[in-house]
């Protein structure tokens, strides 16, 4: 019987072939299919230790505190500081826009230098000094070369203690501010924002814009600014972050030199919380000059230290914070091409933490877009999120964490913010753990409470009526 051995032999060959080819097939499968985790696991760039050491420093006599990080990559220094409760919502009655106006005037000449020579000198020593204002706070930012630090600090001191406020410079800044108020009207998203703030905040000063109203701006004089400065820019309102190429001793001297002579206590009154009415409404503002309808939304949320903050932070990320991968963008943009983008975000404004969001789309897509937004909102409240979504969101929020350490300006601003929000000196170490600890249950119970379709305000601006009429005709 020759066949059988032949057959057996043949089979054996097949087995050998198969056995030999299995590793190849396996290798081929591994090679040609894509496994992101494998690339990460095999990366030669993994396992870098990184720990930002935050130090609390205090000036010996004046007892001013700051958070400080020594960072020597480049010979530069950054300092950020915040005066809490000195933002535009705190401008006195009849003086709306004063904080913003002051922020401009502080760098229009100081001490023995007029505006031109002051700015010229800043450029020559490459010192950057700027002030800015939001509804809650008045903030300063300072950047200097290590080699010019003492000169730069001297300039910064002058802006706080000896702004010149010359008549001529006041006039010029007024002209510019009055024009900037008109300029706001040119941009449709600013016009919408104004209407939206009015709807959300009503008579509360949060409804103002930072620049103020023209009549008030025209009335400003040098003593208004000095009053603002001495009554609000005070030690008890101050939070400071310092980062860069200097020792903690040098940081203490910097702190002392700039802030020791500030008044101890503020004398400006606090403002009350916003009593916002979030009951569902969709307000239409007709504007037939716009090619798209622009929409802004708001819904209730929680303050920064509330137990539901992180659960809601994750829910927000999933519904509208994750860029193109968010639920709303997935449904409206990626599937149906209705919009260039929609978003949601969490505001932790002192007097009204809330969710905000928005989108823009052409009139024929508007009803569908709005429907998607509201149904996603409702779905988040009713069904919450899945375990898979939670794990993806945590991955993003934790893996992207180090990106915030790209520059020392952002770092010093974070250090000031951490103190203002009372997050603790170990916040930078603990933040990823805060995210990690959030459970599915916590997200879904918070979502149930806060994502309710009877608690959301929409304000829409564009060709809304005319579009409806066209539809009715059909």
């Amino acid at each position: 019987m020759t066949r059988r051995p032949y057959h057996t032999h043949h089979r054996r060959k097949l087995w050998i072939l198969l056995a030999l080819s299995l590793p190849c097939l396996w290798y081929g499968y591994q090679y040609f299919t894509f496994n992101p985790q494998k690339i990460i696991d095999n990366s030669e760039l993994k396992d870098r230790n990184f720990n930002v050491k935050v130090e609390e420093i205090t000036t010996p006599q004046s007892n001013i505190k700051a958070y400080f990080v020594e960072e020597k990559t480049n010979p530069i220094v950054s300092m950020s500081f915040v005066f809490k409760g000195c933002g535009y919502a705190y401008d006195p009655q009849g003086k709306s826009g004063l904080a913003e106006f002051s922020s401009a005037m502080f760098t229009e000449g100081a001490g023995d230098m007029d505006a031109a020579s002051f700015k010229e000198h800043l450029e020559n020593i490459a010192a950057e000094i700027g002030y800015s204002v939001d509804e809650d706070d008045f903030s300063g930012s300072f950047m200097s070369l290590k080699e010019n630090l003492s000169q730069s600090v001297d300039m910064l001191r002058k802006t706080l203690y000896e702004p010149r406020l010359d008549e001529e410079d006041m006039h010029r800044t007024k002209r510019q501010t009055l024009q900037a108020i008109d300029h706001l009207q040119e941009n449709p998203s600013n016009r919408l924002k104004e209407a939206f703030k009015h709807e959300l905040y009503g008579n509360h000063p949060y409804a103002r814009n930072a620049l103020g109203i023209k009549k008030d701006v025209q009335s400003f004089n040098a003593s208004d600014i000095r009053n603002f400065s001495t009554s609000c820019l005070t030690k008890d309102r101050l939070f400071v972050g310092i980062a860069g190429d200097l020792s903690s001793q040098e940081a203490v001297s910097l702190l002392d030199e700039v802030f020791a002579d500030l008044p101890e206590k503020a004398s400006t009154p606090d403002i009350k919380d916003v009593a916002a009415d979030f009951s569902f409404r969709s307000i239409d503002i007709e504007d037939d000059t716009l090619p798209q309808i622009l929409t802004m939304i708001a819904a209730p949320s929680v303050p920064r230290l509330h137990k539901d903050f992180y659960p809601l932070y994750i829910a927000n990320y999933i519904i509208g914070g994750a860029g193109l991968n968010s639920r709303i963008n997935e449904a409206a943009r990626e599937k149906e091409g209705l919009t260039y983008g929609a978003y949601t975000s969490m505001s932790v404004a002192d007097k009204l933490p809330h969710f905000s969001g928005g989108f823009s789309t052409t009139p024929q897509n508007f009803e569908r877009m709005k429907e998607i937004f509201i149904s996603e909102w409702k779905k988040m409240g009713e069904k919450g999120i899945s375990a898979q979504e939670l794990s993806s969101a945590k991955n993003y929020l934790q893996n992207s964490y180090n990106l915030r350490f790209a520059d020392i300006t952002t770092l010093s601003a974070m250090l000031a913010e951490i103190q203002k929000e009372d997050l603790g000196i170990d916040f930078l170490q603990k933040r990823n753990r805060y995210i990690g600890k959030v459970t599915l249950e916590r997200v879904n119970s918070a979502a149930k409470e806060f994502f309710a379709n009877d608690k959301i305000i929409m304000v829409n601006m564009g060709k809304i009526k005319s579009e409806r009429n066209i539809k009715d005709d059909k």
Binding site: E123, R175, Y340
Partner: protein
């Protein structure tokens, strides 16, 4: 994924602050075997990195009537390859904490990711993969075309000044492809076909037509070896990069007033032809000095004369674009004070320019150089902005050495070079345009 109508923003950063430091960014350059240029900018502050791939193709390379194809292709690059299916690119980047985006200009299309260093290799794998293996399906194409259409409506048409700028570009560039909008017109977008974007991909997306930038916590040699690993195996397409375009007629000057809805305050824009790195590299540093002197910052000659002293304007500034491949431009924008007519503003600008140029002497030159060089080190702080600057300059045609020698090149500028550049802006601008409110008398 947004359109960059103007890549100008970068230049303000560069020219704003400066210090006499030997090298601008501390870069290390390589060329891969397949011709791909690599620029590494080490920055070990934090365990993070920015990857950018700059393709030398943009709106200017589109066929007439196919406007918007390069930009639509940029969107479709996020919709799947043979290996990385569907929307997985975004999903994977997102789950790994990467910030990923892209933009298209007249000259370039750029893809970039900002990641934890442990995810850089993943980003390199993904970016290399879509350089060669893009898949475009009908459904994804149709949806992205709608998105791009909405993008044009939102970014361009909602904004009166974008419309104004497109009009200025048409007059300035005439027959040159730069005269056409980067997004394409509405009609063009809606008529684009898969073949139109595929043609751009097939022709231009190749390692030898791209520059890879890696900035962050990585050693140059490691970056080089990883670039070889992921990009090195993609075949070159034999690029020479010598493409010619119709030139705008140098003798035609245009001036116009454009009335726009929703404008409250008039604007005056003057746009002059100027050398770019690709058209006349010897002259660009003198023009940078000129721009700094004339209209950058509140200390500039025009601001001091027109805003501070004569009070005819509330703002005036200049900017100089020297990186466009099709030729450079020098622009001045001014806003009249309340009660000042545009005509009065124009006269005042003429006069201020004349006096400013007259006053420029050796002493001013020294002062301007000092200011330009004082804070140069700041641009090394953030690896993402350093990468953006390196990419912009590299794509303008600069060698690594040219990029690094910025301070030296500024220091070498002579008075007569600046005077020569200044003479060009005392002549009528190629385009003088005024934006006014609709209904205002013209």
């Amino acid at each position: 994924m947004r359109v960059l109508a103007a890549v100008f923003s970068v230049f303000f950063i560069i020219t704003a602050t400066f210090q006499a430091k030997a090298e601008l960014l501390g870069i290390k350059g390589y060329t891969l075997d397949n011709g791909m240029r690599l620029i590494v900018i080490p920055n070990h502050k934090a365990p993070i990195a920015k990857q950018m791939v700059w393709y030398k193709v943009g709106a200017k390379d589109e066929t007439i009537g196919k406007g918007g194809a390069a930009h639509l292709l940029e969107h479709l690059m996020f919709r799947g390859t043979k290996k990385v299916k569907g929307k997985d690119f975004n999903r994977i980047m997102e789950e790994n904490g990467a910030v990923s985006n892209a933009f298209t200009s007249q000259d370039v299309t750029v893809y970039h990711q900002f990641t934890d260093i442990s995810r850089l290799e993943l980003a390199m794998f993904l970016e290399a993969d879509r350089m060669a293996n893009l898949k475009i399906d009908d459904e994804g194409f149709e949806t992205e075309r709608q998105i791009v259409y909405q993008e044009r409506k939102q970014v361009v048409e909602n904004n009166p000044f974008y419309q104004f700028n497109e009009e200025v570009a048409r007059s300035f560039w005439q027959n040159h492809p730069y005269s056409r909008p980067i997004t394409g017109t509405e009609t063009e977008i809606l008529n684009l076909k898969i073949e139109d974007v595929r043609a751009i991909y097939d022709k231009y997306y190749a390692p030898d037509n791209a520059v890879l930038i890696i900035a962050g916590d990585i050693n140059p040699d490691t970056a080089y070896h990883l670039a070889q690993k992921y990009y090195g195996k993609i075949p070159a397409k034999g690029f020479t990069n010598n493409k010619s375009f119709p030139q705008a007629d140098a003798d035609i000057n245009t001036s116009f007033k454009m009335s726009l809805k929703n404008i409250e305050i008039p604007r005056l824009l003057r746009k002059y032809e100027a050398p770019s790195y690709s058209s006349d590299k010897e002259q660009i540093y003198a023009w940078m000095v000129l721009s700094k002197y004339i209209g950058e910052e509140d200390t500039s000659a025009l601001y001091q004369k027109m805003v501070v002293n004569d009070k005819v304007a509330t703002s005036v500034s200049s900017s100089y674009n020297y990186t466009s491949l099709g030729g450079g431009s020098f622009s001045i924008v001014a806003v009249p004070s309340a009660g000042i007519s545009v005509e009065k503003l124009q006269e005042a600008l003429d006069e201020a320019l004349k006096v400013s140029v007259d006053e420029f002497n050796d002493n001013t030159l020294k002062k301007i150089k000092k200011k330009m060089l004082a804070g140069l080190i700041y641009i090394r702080d953030n690896p993402t902005s350093a990468a953006q600057i390196a990419g912009t300059l590299a794509l303008a045609g600069m060698s690594d050495e040219e990029i690094e020698n910025y301070a030296d090149n500024i220091n070498k500028v002579t008075l007569s070079e600046v005077k020569k550049a200044a003479a060009a802006i005392l002549k009528p601008a190629k385009v003088e345009a005024v934006a006014i409110a609709k209904g205002e008398k013209k």
